[in-house]
């Protein structure tokens, strides 16, 4: 080994530490500006667009005393920039005001409904990844074959179908006609009162407590909406997997792996997919974030008591605090997943570890 290489090796440790710190710093800057951007937009929507933000928050039937108090609380007599400062400060404390509809603080409402959405989106992403990744791999390996065509059509339809419509048709078929699944809700009414959730993820809670009848009931309620979201995510994941795999399979290290006498199976799953897995993490994370958003329409169709249904119910009742609080909640998680997936990408790829 040359002298230069030895020196480089010695310097690598500290260089890596610096690189990690600087990428962490960059990460924080991006996270903070993006979050401030989100708050700026919701501030704009809530305070700048409406002619009278107080009426937008309270509706026009509130008593004058309440209106006046709220006006002072919102600091509407202050300059814009100061108002925004107070807005950000409140938001950081988790204070998004009070919901007119539920009369609770918006934050406590969100805490109550968010687990339902997370449960749905998680299950959807698992379905999408478990089917989408192998489908994409097969489509790439057998490029131009029947399975590639099928994957393509399945994916294109996933990109083109209105999910709420598919959900309605699914209800007609699986609930009304075949009676395979339960009516739109999270649990049957019987269980609504007897079941005590722990984490808020009902499938998990039922399993922990060994209440398998509840588990079965929860499953019958979640399976269709989760399958639909899973389909959306499958369309995206399989398409991206195919594209990443085609890219990897064209690399020289694949020729080298063949020259080593490895089996095709080992080359595809052990080498090509391992390399594709690095960008796949980002794709799966993005698809998860998209499902959180997609849940707005799905939850409406399936009366699924998550954040999406919360937002649409609030919309129908002109409950602006709740709408914007929900928007910030989904936006924050969405942004966090985006940024974390970027960070994860850096951690997973040995090439970017050093910088």
């Amino acid at each position: 080994m040359s002298v230069a290489e030895n020196q480089a090796a010695a310097g690598r440790g500290s260089a890596r530490a610096v690189a990690i710190l600087s990428s962490l710093g960059r990460f924080l800057v991006v996270a903070v500006t993006t979050y401030l951007g989100l708050l700026a937009v919701t501030f704009f929507i809530g305070r700048v667009i409406p002619i009278d933000p107080v009426l937008a928050v309270l509706g026009d039937r509130a008593p004058t005393a309440v209106v006046e108090r709220t006006r002072r609380e919102m600091g509407l007599d202050l300059p814009w920039i100061e108002q925004f400062y107070l807005y950000v400060k409140a938001a950081l404390r988790g204070d998004f005001g009070t919901s007119v509809l539920t009369t609770n603080p918006v934050m406590s409402d969100i805490r109550r409904v968010f687990p339902a959405t997370i449960e749905l989106a998680t299950l959807g992403t698992i379905i999408g990844a478990v089917i989408g990744v192998p489908l994409g791999v097969l489509a790439a390996v057998k490029r131009g074959s029947l399975i590639d065509q099928i994957a393509r059509v399945v994916g294109l339809i996933g990109y083109s179908v209105p999910i709420f419509w598919l959900g309605l048709l699914g209800l007609v078929l699986f609930y009304a006609k075949l009676q395979w699944i339960a009516f739109p809700a999270r649990l049957d009414v019987v269980y609504e009162y007897t079941f005590t959730p722990i984490t808020g993820f009902y499938l998990l809670d039922a399993a922990i407590q060994g209440q398998w009848d509840v588990f079965h009931d929860a499953w019958r309620h979640i399976v269709l909406p989760a399958a639909l979201l899973g389909y959306l995510s499958l369309a995206y994941i399989s398409r991206m997997t195919r594209s990443f795999m085609l890219n990897e399979l064209a690399q020289e290290y694949i020729v080298a792996a063949r020259a080593k006498g490895l089996s095709e199976r080992r080359i595809i799953w052990g080498h090509a997919l391992r390399n594709a897995a690095v960008p796949m993490v980002t794709v799966i994370a993005l698809s998860y974030a998209n499902l959180l958003e997609g849940s707005v329409l799905t939850e409406t169709v399936f009366s699924w008591p998550g954040i999406g249904l919360y937002i649409t119910n609030s919309l129908q009742n002109a409950d602006m605090n709740a709408v914007l609080g929900g928007t910030i909640a989904i936006g924050s998680v969405f942004i966090a997943i985006n940024l974390l997936s970027d960070l994860l990408y850096r951690l997973l790829d040995p090439r970017t570890k050093a910088g």
Partner: protein, 306 residues
């Protein structure tokens, strides 16, 4: 026209040594068209879009009934039949006629969103790319921030504040869909910014404003068109979603998403009320996706596998 003249025309188009700029340009277009038309699915997509435009244009001829006024007394919630191909809705309106007229609203939404969002993105991207430095950093940071937002939820919040209606829905969708265009325009600008061609224009004393407007923007158009076409399906789906939630087009407009919403109440017994408009959305979105894929493969063969 004889086979021979066709043959020689093809040779002229495919010449390795085009004699004029026009010949080179036509030749490239011809090659792209051949690649595009060899892709059967892309042709299907194009046919769907042509059909959409034709239906929208000829709605008055094609629709046998009014889109907004129904026969409340005799024609409520009829199943599909020869008189009413897709049945009738709860107000006795012919669903087929409403879908035909709905094509107009679909086109209205995608065209308006495209002509609002694409120029914003083009402007932001080319200015950022050409100016560089702090301008670039700030503009791109803003773009990235918008890119990191959940689009549908943000559009929902916008419409909630602006008030429901198809114009506000268009505005909300446009506000959330320009960032990818800015990124594309910036990338294209960066590749040409330091080219000899732009240098020559600079030496001739053209102002930055003129250079961006006359020389850089036109170079970004083709990749922008591909991207906009690929986004059309997403725009249609978002607009339909807003319509479904009652935030987009308001009754009695025959907008497809709103039609599904009104059919939702009868979904278990009169499923056709919601089925037909959803199928229309699916077909048109599919058409745009197929067309966009085909365009991308034809104009940018490198990304064909992506």
């Amino acid at each position: 026209m004889s086979a021979e003249t066709i043959q020689s025309r093809r040779e002229w188009l495919l010449s390795d040594r085009p004699a004029s700029r026009l010949q080179a340009r036509l030749g490239r277009a011809y090659v792209a068209w051949r690649r595009f038309s060899a892709n059967r699915l892309a042709l299907v997509g194009m046919l769907i879009i042509i059909a959409l435009v034709a239906v929208a244009a000829l709605a008055d001829v094609l629709a046998p009934y009014s889109a907004t006024v129904g026969d409340l007394k005799n024609a409520r919630l009829l199943a599909p039949s020869a008189a009413h191909w897709f049945g009738t809705d709860d107000l006795g309106r012919d669903i087929y006629s409403r879908i035909v007229y709905g094509a107009r609203w679909t086109l209205y939404v995608v065209i308006l969103v495209a002509i609002i969002a694409a120029p914003i993105g083009l402007l932001v991207g080319t200015v950022a790319g050409y100016a560089g430095g702090w301008t670039d950093t700030i503009l791109m940071r803003i773009t990235d921030i918008f890119l990191a937002f959940p689009k549908l939820v943000l559009a929902l919040a916008f419409v909630a504040a602006l008030g429901p209606g198809i114009e506000n829905a268009v505005l909300a969708i446009a506000i959330t869909s320009w960032p990818p265009y800015a990124r594309i325009a910036r990338a294209e600008t960066l590749t040409v910014r330091n080219s000899d061609y732009i240098k020559a224009v600079q030496l001739m004393g053209a102002s930055p404003f003129r250079i961006v407007l006359r020389h850089i923007m036109p170079l970004c158009i083709s990749s922008l068109i591909i991207r906009v076409t690929l986004d059309m399906a997403g725009i249609i789906l978002t607009a339909a979603g807003l319509g479904f939630l009652g935030l987009g087009a308001q009754p009695p407009l025959p907008e497809w998403g709103a039609m599904i919403a009104s059919g939702r109440r009868f979904i278990l017994d009169q499923w056709w009320v919601a089925a037909a408009p959803g199928a229309a959305i699916l077909i048109v979105s599919l058409g745009f996706n197929l067309l966009g894929d085909g365009l991308r493969d034809a104009l940018d063969p490198r990304s064909g596998d992506q």
